[in-house]
């Protein structure tokens, strides 16, 4: 089990300032935990844009193609039925199902990718260091496993200067 230096804030704007300040001093937080999505925090933490949208696009494309070609195969190869002399390969009437399959596959592939990427899911083993985090606390976690005493003190001092409260070691 790894050890962390944990510090918390009461306000998201102080948190963003704090994160910026410690990152400028070369201290990289392992994780920042907040009760709600804080806008601007991803930039302050230097996060890249999520690529989940690409998964959604790929999933949607696969779903749409499966939907369209499956219908085409059924009506031209597997089981062509003559409905009042209408064409077997009736593209317009394949559209509703194609559209629904696109949406279904895009949504599900993206959400599944989200859970896998975040390692979340039913029965996922995650550690909650502070139960107030889902209520009103904004927590910074900094890995403290390989830190020697002076290094640790430097980080704690930097956090204090960055306005953090309740600085402590958690594991």
């Amino acid at each position: 089990m790894s050890k962390f230096i944990s510090a918390y804030y009461h306000d998201e704007e102080d948190l963003i300032k704090g994160v910026r300040q410690i990152r400028n001093q070369g201290i990289e937080p392992a994780d920042v935990r907040t009760p709600f999505p804080v806008h601007g925090l991803d930039k302050a933490m230097g996060m890249k844009r999520s690529r989940l949208t690409r998964v959604a696009f790929a999933g949607g494309a696969i779903g749409g193609l499966i939907g369209f070609f499956f219908q085409a195969w059924v009506f031209t190869v597997a089981y062509p039925i003559n409905f009042g002399g209408k064409p077997f390969f009736a593209v317009p009437s394949f559209m509703p199902v194609t559209f629904e399959m696109t949406v279904l596959f895009a949504a599900f592939s993206m959400v599944i990718a989200f859970f896998i990427h975040n390692k979340l899911g039913p029965g996922a083993k995650t550690i909650i260091y502070d139960e107030q985090v889902t209520d009103d606390r904004f927590q910074i976690l900094i890995e403290a496993d390989d830190l020697d005493e002076p290094e640790q003190q430097r980080i704690e001092k930097a956090l204090k200067e960055a306005g953090a409260q309740g600085i402590q070691l958690t594991s």
């Binding site: 009461h10 949208t53 959604a56 009437s93 509703p96 559209f99 399959m101 959400v111 083993k125 889902t134």
Partner: protein, 456 residues
């Protein structure tokens, strides 16, 4: 120079974050109130009536309904379309209003989405029970089978299967993904071990990590982008059930937009009916304010007016088409044996919602509640009028007929109402009715009062 007035805060009462958590979770804590049990008893009784009616239908067949050779669709499809329509408000609020950055949606999206899911379940029940042989319901899905037969992809009824299934699944995922952070909050507040374990499992191990939040925001936005055209497609496809047929009164190109706006119209009415009661009963008046009610009423005026114009357009086009059958179908709607249903529809959908042009009325809870009930009734009659009056006198006068529902059909409808309210009451107790995290993110525009609350 005109200076626009400063907007009122979305959430009243100058609350801090933990106050929000406590307020919204309060209805889940402790023993349910006496009113909750009363509601549950009433809804349960209605659901039991539905169970009896389902038993009658399954064991004695569709003959227990008032259908005949001329009128093969009546209450069942009316109820189906009505319930699907009600579901549309939830997706509209959570998806389309999210894309339009309407922040007031955060107070109502969770309960409206729950309503969507329950309403789709109620809707899906009707086509299933109409099949007669319920156990063969899975025949509607294309799967390899010993009959060497595939489903008919040219049929709007089959499109419906795909549309409703997709709609339900995507709405479920959208709702649950939004719920996960709040389940995390419930887990962390739980005192009891079993409760903590159950909510811990349901929370999927949510930690509130900023990385997760960032991705959560991304997928919420994309899901909204997917759900927005989806919700429009669902009622479009439902309207195709009618529009692609050759029955006068059904065979019109105006149906898709007309059905979609009607669906959003009736959905918002149901959201208002539920939330006006819920905000009072659950002490959430600071979260679902008069401003929220007023905004919803504005959407009701808009969609109600679109529906009104659609009714008039239909009439004009029927006359203008010069087709005798089409003209008769519409004349018969307004002045035939079912004229009473038509005028109920007209009054409830076109006239009463126009009262919302008056600020006094659209900011009055009682007036809004009454008008929302009117709209619910009117939109039910709209579907009844479209389905039954178009069918009962089609082409040959020798096959003209009348339709009267039997007790079994009434029972099925009341049963779904019972199911709807039972599940909604359970939802209130199990999950937070308002999206806690989303409300916190719109709580303040400046960090000031939050800081003062803690630094003193």
């Amino acid at each position: 120079m005109y200076v626009s007035p400063i907007r009122e805060p979305l959430i009243k009462g100058n609350k801090d974050y933990s106050q929000v958590t406590r307020d919204i979770m309060a209805p889940m804590a402790g023993k349910p109130s006496k009113y909750w049990y009363m509601g549950m008893a009433l809804a349960g009784a209605a659901a039991l009536m539905g169970a009896w009616a389902s038993y009658e239908t399954v064991f004695n067949g569709i003959g227990t309904w008032g259908l005949n050779k001329t009128i093969g669709w009546a209450w069942d499809i009316t109820n189906f379309v009505w319930w699907v329509g009600i579901g549309h408000a939830g997706t509209f609020i959570s998806a389309i209003l999210l894309l339009f950055r309407q922040k007031w949606r955060t107070s109502i999206n969770r309960s409206a989405e729950a309503m969507t899911l329950i309403a789709i379940a109620c809707a899906g029940f009707f086509p299933l029970i109409h099949m007669g042989r319920l156990l063969l319901g899975f025949f509607i899905f294309p799967y390899p089978n010993t009959r060497d037969l595939w489903v008919n992809f040219n049929s709007p009824l089959l499109w419906d299967v795909f549309a409703i299934t997709t709609y339900f699944l995507v709405s479920l995922v959208f709702w649950y993904v939004g719920l996960i952070p709040d389940i995390g909050t419930v887990r962390d507040k739980a005192k009891n071990k079993i409760r903590k374990a159950i909510y811990g499992f349901l929370s999927f191990g949510w930690t509130g990590s900023a990385r997760h939040w960032s991705r959560h925001e991304t997928i919420s936005l994309v899901l909204a982008g997917l759900a927005a055209p989806l919700v429009l497609s669902v009622h479009t496809i439902v309207s195709f059930d009618f529009a692609t047929s050759v029955i006068p009164g059904w065979h019109t190109t105006i149906f898709p937009p007309y059905f979609v706006s009607g669906a959003i119209f009736s959905g918002f009415a149901m959201v208002l009916t539920l939330l006006i009661v819920a905000r009072k009963a659950l002490n959430l008046e600071d979260y679902i304010t008069i401003n929220h009610i007023e905004s919803m009423n504005k959407i009701i005026i808009l969609t109600g007016s679109i529906v009104g114009i659609a009714y008039l357009t239909e009439f004009f086009i029927a006359w203008y088409s010069g087709v005798e059958y089409e003209q008769y179908a519409f004349f018969n709607r307004a002045f035939g044996p079912y004229a009473w249903a038509y005028w109920i529809m007209m009054t409830c959908n076109v006239i009463t919602p126009q009262l919302f042009w008056f600020k006094k009325i659209r900011t009055s809870l009682i007036a809004t509640f009454i008008i929302s009930i009117f709209v619910n009734i009117g939109m039910w009659f709209e579907r009844f009028v479209i389905v039954v009056t178009s069918l009962h006198r089609d082409y040959l006068p020798s096959s003209w007929s009348m339709y009267k529902p039997t007790l079994v059909e009434v029972g099925l409808y009341i049963g779904t109402l019972g199911l709807f309210f039972t599940l909604f009451l359970l939802f209130i107790r199990i999950f937070p009715v308002i999206a806690i995290a989303e409300v916190k993110s719109v709580l303040k525009s400046s960090g000031e009062h939050q800081k003062h609350a803690h630094h003193e």
